[in-house]
């Protein structure tokens, strides 16, 4: 079995190679089959391993295979090797499962595009890299996947490279991610550098875990923070989230697969994978929680003021990723992964549905020009409705269970009411902006031009069937993690126990930060009132969520003039939020502009004026002397000049050496 695990990433790689090297004369259908089947094959292998795991005792669910040595220098040693355990098999199932559905959907979505083959090459390459990321058995191979998915993201965001906005967005994504990678690499160096001094030269997860006791708390904090910098890049958290909204320039299936369901969750996966390190660093965990929480809240506010449906979804993704970080930051890795999974279902679905809307609306993205699509594209309508309910946290759907788990963990592990409150408020906003989009798109009068209206049609089956499957998953996906409180047995937490340990203790204590402490924080009591409190908070969150939906209904269905009045009244605030708090402009002015200034200074002033000035000055002086000397010479000089110089050098060299030695 272990000998075959490398097949999981290998299949999409084969698909990529076939389509890229041999596919030039393939008919579209063959290209599509190769691409889809390669991902489905990965899913089949993953599913087979999963089934096998189900029948094994929990501790035995681990497969490792080293394929060959990769970078070996002195004692430092890494290999190309794979590892499948309870965590990575879930990731494999999500990536290859959702990936298969999106591949199939893309066959319909990209049908008329001249870059059809190129698209599927990139998409297969992406799945290969993503599966490498989640199955790698060491940090460095994970980094290969990490950068590899970044590359595919770059290529796919800029897929329509003739559009400047698209190629700009791709470049921005790559560079911002590189800033994160800067942190990631420093984390690797610190980790290897330190363990190396202890005689342990490894980046393999299992060996790191075995030697983790050597790492002191302050060093662990530094290392984990550096890795987290990488995560803020890849998973679009403050301060590096700016690339993700722009990434919507890519084709919509890409937004769904890469920028919602899989790649952007890599940061969450990475922290979960390195949980044994993060456990040692409570300060880091607190920072992760705070950053996640702020990002969740901040992005949700922006989401409320966007008109472009993909932008709404993009900010929603940033916000939901924030939730996942709140989860892992609370030391509740299983909760983070749980939300990662349900989010992959409902957000993947939302993007695909948005693609279906675009398909119907001749590419329109502005919700102000939509409306009334309910009857015309019913499958898209109903599946979107389910996804909206799921993300809004309506009880019974997947998002409810996973979000609630995270909110509860934020409260109970950090002993902070405010953590819970900000999270719950974000959930309310989420419900609001999702239904704002939903009502604007599907309800009311159609505001599109006659031309567009005329063409509105439901998408073909190849696109709607993936929508329906994801809708079903968005409903039932939560039942793997029903909390004990509601009579469930939280299967997913139990499943992940071999990786994360049994109920990681409340290591992350918000202690030093008095401003987040409340009466609830005085620990001892909290345990006693836990169950009652969990129920109260759950009900509170449900009410806040429903309130968000209600306000959206009030604004956009019941009384469609309200938003206009609201915008007029709070004009300044709306402008600020609508323009995303001008963060892009700020970064542009502070970083980009100054970098170019520095570049111009170095190039024009330093390099071309000072250094070359000196060089040319010396040359000119020599030339001047030379032309004076020339007058005393006659005839050909070149021939014997060389001999003279050489002789002189030898003599001088000899004399100098005699003198100084």
């Amino acid at each position: 079995m272990a000998d075959l695990i490398w097949l999981i990433p290998a299949f999409p790689a084969i698909g990529f190679l076939i389509n890229s090297l041999l596919g030039i004369r393939f008919p579209k259908a063959l290209t599509a089959w190769v691409a889809c089947l390669s991902v489905i094959a990965s899913f089949a292998v993953s599913a087979a391993i999963f089934v096998k795991f189900l029948g094994m005792p929990a501790e035995g669910r681990l497969l490792e295979k080293t394929v060959f040595d990769w970078i070996v220098s002195g004692d430092f040693n890494t290999s190309i090797g794979f590892r499948i355990d309870a965590l990575s098999i879930i990731m494999c199932l999500i990536v290859s499962g959702v990936g298969s559905l999106i591949h199939i959907y893309s066959v319909g979505y990209m049908h008329g595009d001249p870059g059809f083959r190129r698209f599927f090459c990139y998409l297969n390459l992406f799945v290969f890299m993503m599966l490498t990321l989640v199955t790698a058995d060491n940090v460095l191979l994970m980094f290969v996947g990490w950068e590899g998915v970044g590359l595919c993201s770059y290529l796919l965001i800029g897929f329509w490279y003739e559009k400047d906005s698209a190629s700009d967005a791709g470049k921005k994504a790559f560079i911002v991610n590189r800033i994160g990678d800067f942190g990631f690499l420093l984390g690797v160096f610190t980790l290897v550098g330190f363990l190396g001094t202890q005689g342990i030269w490894t980046l393999k997860f299992s060996e790191l875990q075995a030697n983790v006791h050597l790492i002191g708390p302050s060093l662990a904090t530094v290392i984990t923070l550096l890795f987290f910098v990488g995560a803020t890049g890849k998973s679009a958290q403050i301060p590096l989230y700016v690339w993700l909204p722009d990434a919507m320039e890519g084709p919509t299936p890409v937004s769904s697969l890469i920028h919602a369901a899989t790649m952007v969750t890599a940061g969450v996966y990475m922290i979960a994978r390195l949980n044994f390190l993060y456990v040692l660093a409570p300060t880091t965990l607190l920072i992760v929680t705070v950053v996640g929480l702020l990002t969740a809240f901040f992005a949700a506010t922006i989401g409320c003021a966007q008109y472009d449906i993909k932008r709404v979804l993009a900010y929603s993704t940033v916000s939901q990723l924030g939730y996942m970080f709140v989860g892992v930051g609370a030391g509740a890795y299983a909760a983070g992964i749980f939300h990662l999974m349900t989010h992959a279902f409902f957000k993947g679905l939302l993007f695909l549905a948005a693609g279906s809307v675009m398909h119907a609306m001749s590419g329109e993205l502005d919700m102000r020009k939509m409306g009334g699509l309910r009857k015309k594209i019913p499958i898209t309508y109903w599946t979107t409705f389910i996804a909206c309910l799921a993300i809004a946290g309506v009880p019974g759907l997947s998002g409810f269970f996973s979000k609630d788990e995270i909110l509860w963990m934020a409260f109970s592990r950090h002993h902070s009411f405010w953590f819970w409150f900000i999270g719950a408020a974000t959930a309310g906003m989420t419900a609001f902006y999702m239904f704002r989009m939903f009502f604007n798109t599907f309800h009311g009068e159609c505001r599109a031009s006659e031309e567009v209206k005329h063409h509105i049609h439901e998408s073909p089956k190849v696109m709607t069937i993936p929508l329906m499957i994801l809708a079903v998953l968005s409903i039932i996906g939560g039942y793997v993690g029903v909390p004990h409180l509601l009579g469930g047995s939280n299967h997913i937490e139990k499943w992940l126990e071999p990786v994360f340990g049994h109920h990681a203790p409340a290591t992350a204590h918000a202690g030093g930060f008095s401003f987040v402490n409340t009466a609830f924080a005085s620990s001892g009591e909290a345990a006693g009132i836990e169950a009652g409190m969990e129920m109260k908070l759950m009900i509170g969150a449900i009410i806040i969520g429903l309130l968000g939906i209600f306000i959206a209904w009030l604004f956009y269905v019941k009384n469609p003039n309200l938003p206009k009045k609201f915008v007029e009244k709070f004009h300044g605030l709306f402008t600020l939020v609508h323009n995303k708090y001008f963060i892009d402009e700020l970064y542009g002015a502070v970083f980009v502009k100054n970098l170019f200034r520095l570049g111009a200074l170095c190039k024009e002033f330093f390099d071309e004026t000072i250094i070359d000035g000196i060089i040319n000055g010396v040359a000119a002086a020599m030339g001047g002397i030379g032309s004076l000397m020339r007058r005393v010479q006659s005839g050909f000089v070149q021939g014997y000049a060389f001999a003279i110089i050489l002789g002189a050098i030898i003599v001088i060299g000899y004399l100098v050496s005699r003198m100084i030695l």
């Binding site: 060959f68 040595d69 990769w70 970078i71 070996v72 220098s73 002195g74 004692d75 430092f76 190309i80 460095l140 980094f143 290969v144 990490w146 950068e147 590899g148 590359l151 770059y154 800029g158 490279y161 003739e162 400047d164 190629s167 470049k171 790559f174 560079i175 590189r178 800033i179 990678d181 800067f182 690499l185 420093l186 690797v188 160096f189 610190t190 290897v192 550098g193 190396g196 970098l595 170019f596 520095l598 570049g599 111009a600 170095c602 190039k603 024009e604 390099d607 250094i611 070359d612 060089i615 040359a619 050098i649 001088i652 060299g653 000899y654 100098v656 050496s657 005699r658 100084i660 030695l661």
Partner: protein
Amino acid sequence: MTVMSIPILSFLIYFPLLGAILLLFVNRKNSQFIKVFTLVFSLVELAVSIPLFFKFDETAKTMQFVEKAQWFPEWGISYFIGIDGISLLLVLLTTFLTVICVLCSWKAIEDRIKEYYITFLILETAMIGTLCALDLVLFYIFWELMLIPMYLLIGIWGGPRRIYAAIKFFLFTMAGSVLMFIAILALYFYYYKTTGVYTFNVLELYQASIPVVKQYWFFGAFALSFAIKVPMFPVHTWLPDAHTEAPTAGSVILAGVLLKMGTYGFLRFAVPLFPAAAFDAIPLMSILAVIGIIYGAIVSMMQPDLKRLIAFSSVSHLGYVMLGLFAFNIQGVQGGIYQMLNHGISTGGLFLIVGMIYERRHTRMIADFGGLAKVMPVFATFFMIITLSSIALPGTNGFVGEFLILLGAFKSNAVYGVLATTGVILGAVYMLWMFQRVMFGVITKEENRNLKDLGKREILILSSMVFFIILMGVYPKMFFKKMDVSVAEYLSFVKAKNAQYRTLPQGATEAAKVNDLSNTK
């Protein structure tokens, strides 16, 4: 030289020279024959060099394929050549890139074809000679011999400002070389003074015991000469001009091999001959290397000319190499050596890429392009892969080298490591921005609308580069195991030697040091 062994290195050195001499007798009108002839010679050269790789004994600590003969015994000059794991890889890089250069000149050079290929073959002789020489005089002869063909390549087949660039190149390099030659002589006489033996044999001179203050002088002269060649900041300004004006093949060989002579010189000569000085120079060299990495990247970003942009990126990449070499740990040095090879492949590849569009458009200005991906999709793919190699994407060769260098630098001094790692970001900025401006967007210039995509010869050239980009990125062990022992030996030697100097009492007389040395022998 043992009687049994075939003088394979001598063959590699003189075979191209033989080709050059034979070419003298070929009618210049027979241009097709001249090209094929040169190609065959370079291919034979490559074919002969490949067994070196497989026959090389990776467990041996000594020089291999050694040939030694007395030349001027009364002066201690010998014909002494041999390679270790470090020079082995560089020799192979040279023979490989020479074939690439011949192929890429096929259509680009139409003027004085005969002289051009003669020049190139002589250059190959000089390069391989430099890499194999273990006698300082022999080394110096080949070192200077490299200068002349390169000077001619730029000055005759170069662009509009070729004369300025060629003279600048010549003067810069010559200035360093002269100092080095003086230092070589001084070292030679000093060694005689202390041991009574005249020798230019590097391996013997390694054993010399030189007072630290004198080492500073010697090291300074060698280091300046090599630093100019690398080039290190701030003596790099000849490089952009030389690259910009040189013909494509000249740029490829300049970036691919000639710059490596500088870094190789540090490894083979400057550091092991004068280890105490080298260790004292660590802060200076590391700071200059870090400045080179960052400064090269920032200036590169601002260049309007593709070749200048790539030239400055070389300054940045070679900064990494120097940083690795002066980390004095195995990761840093191996990473540095690997980066030398990588740079030959990826930057060589970039110059090929620029050459290919230059042949089509006769401009190198970034502003003249835009949207080429639409008309040249195959070209775009190769360009992308080579760009990614240049920015060290994991999975490509660049990553392996850069990662080890940074790891090594971080281990020896975290500050340098952190500063140098910013190059990871800057590299992506300038390369991707350049790529975007050339390849993406809509075509705005009419002349670009009908550009032809790559032909078979060009695809062959670039495929071979891409092959090494992937192979060296995925299975570096194949190359590392060839240099493992040599690098370990090098490091333990220079460290032990340096430690030996440190333990000497400060006021010790020279005679005492000589005694000390003879005791250790």
